[in-house]
């Protein structure tokens, strides 16, 4: 089936003209051109009325008019087309623009819908029932061909199919509406979530602010407390020990990182060697590719060479031991750090309180702390607590800090969530937001030894039927509009002609000797989601034609069918 719309159009035209002298139209003339053939003395070429011909030259199987209008019923003018290698003989009367005025040979197709057959198909010995079910385009019976009138049968089938098609279209329309509703619901869900996120964020922000205040307060309070413990003035040995500890920590960290890197590299080498091993075993020596053969030989040489030390368990155990904490290795830095305290001269200054009675000591302590806090706050005394290690930070501060951190992270998460929902809301999900309803849904089809799967707004996948790994054929990157010109079968399946929504998928699995796989999925209208066709247009570049109700209102009638653009395009 070519273009249903066009055919219907013509049907209408046919009924209009049927009454008015259908019988008098020359062979092959469609009703809308009948007016050019009314004169019963001469015929004027349609595009060049100055050229007048005797009626005997109409349909005499010789092309006289520069637009071919004198041969509506033969193939004599079929060469008048920009696709033909014309010579001066044709150009002399028409100039450089050579084309036909008529769309083709008109078949009445009584019992079915009228249609035009290209002139190139007239009297070529082939019955073009697809366009001319009444077989009239083979009126000359060249080579003895007889094309019987099959319009009753074909028309009946057509009407049956057309009914089914209409039904299917109606149903597809309903489905689309459901999808729109569903998409709307999903959208509202997102909007609701956005709203609640807004509230949550406000709450979180308040909380963060509160906790910040709290932390400041706790810290202030705790600063005084550290008079005793925070007065450690570190001696030379202490400095050295501190440095040594720091250095040791650094080395351990670095060693750990190097080990991780080594393990990762070793893993990669193993993986690569595995790949090459498989490559050597599975490569197809048939393909006679000298490059591949060379690579295999190089691999064999490589594999045969001394590989250096195997991973050594004992050595690794040593490394494990080395990277344990120093304490586990019998080295307690704290011990050495303490020593510094005793030797510190400055420490003595604060040590005097140890000699006081406990009650006095407490009173003094409390006052000193206030004093100290005041001094620190006024910048007179250095805040030793801030320079001390975290271990020396009080539990209260730590708790406050962690509460604040948690609140901040909550807030960040909410922001992130907000952004992603907002993006989701702003992203192009097609007209009416329709693909929102299909997001993540998958449809598949078998083709050859593979099953091909397309998941809306997600990815395309190739799955071997014989088992084995799936191959990613690309992840969704964007929606596009493409122009297509494809057939629509009798059941209405197919893209038809016109602009269609397409989804581009890129960055799939890399191809040997080729690019990363990519897929263009072109959508046409169908009652149910269905992969119509899958083609590998070039190495690892795929094209899928998919039917879905989601695009139904966009492409008019009859599957993806060309709509009312007119059968002339087809001719």
């Amino acid at each position: 089936m070519r273009s249903v719309g066009a055919l219907l159009c013509l049907e209408y035209a046919a009924t209009v003209y049927a009454a008015s002298g259908e019988a008098s139209r020359p062979r092959g003339v469609g009703p809308e051109f009948a007016k050019f053939y009314k004169d019963d003395s001469t015929f004027s070429c349609i595009s060049t009325p100055s050229i007048k011909l005797p009626l005997s030259r109409l349909n005499d199987d010789y092309c006289d008019c520069p637009d071919g209008s004198d041969e509506p019923g033969t193939s004599a003018c079929s060469h008048l087309s920009p696709l033909y290698p014309h010579t001066l003989v044709d150009h002399s009367s028409t100039g450089s623009n050579i084309s036909l005025s008529l769309p083709g040979f008109y078949c009445k197709n009584k019992g079915h819908v009228p249609s035009y057959v290209p002139f190139t198909n007239v009297n070529d010995g082939i019955c073009d029932y697809e366009l001319c079910c009444d077989g009239t385009e083979e009126w000359d019976h060249v080579g003895g061909v007889k094309c019987e009138d099959r319009c009753q049968q074909i028309g009946k089938e057509f009407r049956k199919l057309d009914e089914a098609r209409q039904k299917s279209l109606g149903s597809a329309g309903r489905k689309r509406k459901e999808l729109v509703v569903e998409a709307g619901r999903l959208r509202r869900e997102v909007e609701d979530r956005l709203q609640s996120l807004g509230t949550e964020i406000e709450g979180s922000e308040v909380k963060v602010r509160q906790l910040e205040v709290e932390l400041v307060e706790v810290e202030r309070r705790e600063k005084g407390k550290v008079v005793r413990s925070a007065v450690q003035k570190v001696g030379k040995m202490g400095v050295l020990v501190g440095l040594a500890k720091q250095r040791s920590e650094e080395l351990r960290g670095t060693l750990e990182r190097v080990r991780e890197e080594r393990d990762a590299s070793r893993g990669r080498v193993q993986e690569l060697e595995g790949v090459l091993m498989t490559f050597k075993e599975e490569y197809n020596p048939n393909f006679n590719d000298e490059g591949v053969k060379r690579a295999v030989r190089a691999w064999e040489e490589y594999a045969a060479r001394d590989k250096g030390p195997e991973p050594d368990a004992a050595h690794d155990r040593d490394l494990d031991a080395i990277t344990q904490s120093d304490k586990d290795n019998g080295l307690d830095w704290a011990e050495y750090e303490g020593e510094g305290d005793e030797e510190s001269d400055a420490g003595v200054l604060f040590a005097f309180e140890y000699y006081l009675p406990s009650s006095l000591r407490h009173w003094l302590d409390a006052n000193l702390r206030t004093l100290r806090t005041t001094l620190i706050d006024s910048g007179i005394l250095a805040d030793t607590s801030s320079t001390s290690t975290s271990t020396s930070e009080s539990k209260a501060v730590q708790a406050a800090q962690s509460r604040l951190d948690a609140a901040r992270s909550d807030l960040a998460n909410h922001h992130k969530s907000l952004t992603s929902h907002q993006e989701d809301l702003d992203s192009n999900m097609g007209p009416d937001d329709i693909f929102r309803a299909l997001k993540g849904q998958c449809i598949a089809t078998d083709s050859g030894e593979y099953t091909y799967e397309f998941c809306f707004l997600d990815k395309t996948t190739q799955k071997p039927k014989k088992g084995g790994g799936h191959t990613n054929m690309g992840n969704f990157v964007r929606m596009e509009t493409v122009f297509v010109d494809e057939d629509v079968d009798s059941k209405g399946k197919g893209l038809g002609k016109g602009e269609r929504i397409a989804m581009r998928h890129e960055g799939g699995q890399h191809c040997w000797n080729g690019p990363n796989r990519s897929t263009l999925v072109v959508l046409g209208c169908a009652e149910v989601g269905e992969v119509w066709r899958i083609m590998e247009e070039e190495k690892c570049v795929y094209r899928m034609e998919v039917g879905t109700p989601a695009v139904c209102d966009l492409v008019g009638m009859g599957g993806g069918g060309g709509g009312g653009r007119g059968g002339r395009d087809e001719l």
Binding site: D60, Y62, A76, T87, D124, A295, G308
Partner: protein, 993 residues
Amino acid sequence: MLQLNASSSRWSAFLLLCLVLCSLLTPVVTVKHENFKTCDQSGFCKRNRAYADTALSTSSWSSPYTLEASSVRLDKGLLTGIVTKKAGDENLRLPLTVSFYESGTARVTIDEEKRRKGEIELRHNSKARKERYNEAEQWAIVGGTVLSKGAATTQGAEKGTTRVAYGPASAFQAVIKHSPFGVDFKRNGETQIKLNGEGLLNVEHWRPKIDKPVPEKKEGEEEKREGEDVTEAETSGVTVDDEGTWWEESFGGNTDSKPRGPEAVALDISFPGYQHVYGLAEHTGPLSLKETRGGDGKYTEPYRMYNSDVFEYEMDSPMTLYGSIPFMQAQKKNSTVGVLWLNAAETWVDITRSSSSANPLSFGIGGTTTTNTHWISESGLLDIFVMLGPKPQDVIGAYSELTGYTQLPQQFAIAYHQCRWNYVTDEDVKDVDRKFDKNKIPYDVIWLDIEYTEGKKYFTWDPMTFADPLGMQKQLDEHERKLVAIIDPHIKNEGNYYVVDELKSKDLAVHNKDDNIYEGWCWPGSSYWIDCFNPAARTWWQFLFRYDRFAGSATNTFIWNDMNEPSVFNGPETTMPKDNLHHARWEHRDLHNLNGLTLINATYTALLARSPAEASHPIRPFVLTRSFFAGSQRLGAVWTGDNQAAWPHLEASIPMLLSMGISGFPFAGADVGGFFGNPSKELLTRWYQAGAFYPFFRGHAHIDTRRREPYLAGEPYTGIITQALRLRYALLPAWYTAFHEAHVRGEPIVRPNWYVHPEDEKGFGLDDQFYVGGTGLLAKPVVREGQMESQEVYLADGERYFGYFDFEGYEGPGMVKVSAGLEEIPLLMRGGHVIPRRDRPRRSSGLMRWDPFTLVVVLGKAGDAEGTLYLDDGESFDYEEGAFIHRKFSYGAATSVLISEDLAATGTGGSKKAKEYLKSMEKVRVEKVIVVNAPAAWNGREEVEVSEEGAGKSGAARKVVMEWFAGEGGKAAWAVVRDPGVAIGRGWRVAFA
């Protein structure tokens, strides 16, 4: 540290590997030279080149071959005798025959008595035959070998010579010199061809291998050995030959056991006075063969002929390719001569030229150039055919009479073929078929490469992808389109595959040197090779193609035989070991170059008998081959193998196809678009424009390339390509007529300048423009990138030429500029010809069967024109029973009448089929006559008078409208006769005055 070192070297090795792998990703565009031998790596070539060096540098060189005068007999055109070769103390006996055929062709054959009688010993317990291979003629030669009883020795021969006069009017002479042995061939007293004139004749006789104590090799001995290379022929009696390559040779990890020892044959053939030689197809160099022994613009390697699967072959090279035709023509002003070196073993040909100036001051004028050729084959008989012309048509005619004429193909076969490795499913094929129609692009044939099979098992269909091959072919048949499926000679070695089971159980495969079945690797992996030299194998092969066995094949299925060199992926030089054994225990080395021919021979006969019904009324087979030899033209079409989507490959395709044309195998084409790689749209468009003038016109593409069916190119390219395709279709009557000329006379279909104008020395080197058959159409397709302005076309004569499309007038001789925009094909019509055309575009050539004709009458300087048309049903063999139309159209300035005469000397009146055919064509008429360069005197005339012979209206003249148009600018005046309505198969006349 040690560890570090080890691992770093390991890493660098890994990086190296990565680099190697990466290098795979960049397109590699040069042939793998290391896969193929140079002359130096081929023992017998090296030995004979060295022999030549010694002979040519020794002033007192004397060839050690003598014809025993007493042994010479001439009886009924056959001269026999014994040539002796002095080698040491021995005088080896080499039986000689010189045959003189009715056609004027002479043949010189030299055998070796000891081998012939089997008085030799083979090494390694080889079961190979002992004789020199003497069956090449069973495959290559099909006619023209009737001995001439008129050949006679003439009196007054010089002492020590035998002189035989033969040929038409005894104008030819063979002067056979006794000592040293040699033959001079003369025409009208003038020497045209000399055999052994330079004394390079060398027949390596059989000798036992004497295992000498191997002397310790010392550095200093190298040079000495070099010098002794050629002392075999020295008369000192002490043979101290370099035996290094006598008994065993290794190349690329394969060792040739050479059970018969050295057995090469070599001979120099000189063409005194001939500057140009052509032939030795197929190579990528210019049509006029280059010198091969170094120097500016010369090759350093001899032309090699050893049919090979050469991956990514290079341009302008004497390297061997997929096929070989050991036929050479020499050309000088108004004289063409030729030789056929009938030997199917590996063959090398050196070409040199020597000049002598009659007057040293006259720079070439009056001076002569002699072309010397040195032919070297590894084994077999020395067997050459000599053709003395004098016209190109005489030489190609004699050659074609011997090796057979081009098959008259079905009409679809000369229309457009759409191929790709691979259309992936039956639905894919149907989709492409629909898209051609939808885009109004004609095509006739769609092709399937190896992927349609189930696991590369031929005669099967992949059930996953080609589940319904018959449904697919039915759709194709609806518009009379055909399917060509590939069937290769390697049979997959896999269980439960009836083809391999039968091949093994019937023992029909090629054997290895130990006489067991030979196993090698090709597309399917482990494979065996059918041995089509074996009659039983051919019978079996025929059986495989029957519709009831090759399920899924249909009457519109035809066959492509690829890989028939044979290509063996793990074999030496990608082919079979030379010590493999074929039917009748001939070694593969003896018949290698014939292998491809035997396969398509088997397939051709198989296609004639696919069902009992068809066997009684067969249609003409179509088989495409990659490998070929002299004679393959009888069996199918050929293409130039795996070319590349690059401009130089488009450019090279023209000389390559011209070379095939003058080598008797004109049904040849190159893959349009280029096999490897993606052509730019400009290149693709230009390639279609050139391809429309290839005798075999097929678009093809590698599996890794982007789709490039013409409708995908986009505008303006698709439209331009469609025009080129429709031009091919419109001119199909002219092409078919040209094919008929090839079929009956052996004439090339696309003809180089020298062939059409053998009097024009300036055009002898020309190989980038050509004539289409005898139509006078002169094409020079654009083959360079960005060339949009104009194309220089060489006109050899003073005739008038006209632009095919615009009737622009050109006058020769010399270069003229022809407009060459992207949408234009530089195409001229030579005055004096009539070109038949069918102007109605159809979906396939089969649907043009009932369409009327347009005749383009191109009046020349003298105001005359002449042309022919051959037409038949385009598919059956009924034409052999006279079911054809063969007309001659001629227009005479004196009479102003265009007449159609019957050229069918026989048949038309006779057979039932002939009558039926003519009846079926009764209504097919001439709808238009276009006269280009119409006389100004016709200005004002509005009618012509048409009369037609035949029942009912014989003699009744009708008036028909004619219109005359003045030529504007440089354009010719022209006239159109409106629908003369005469039947194409009848006699008629159109009187213009």
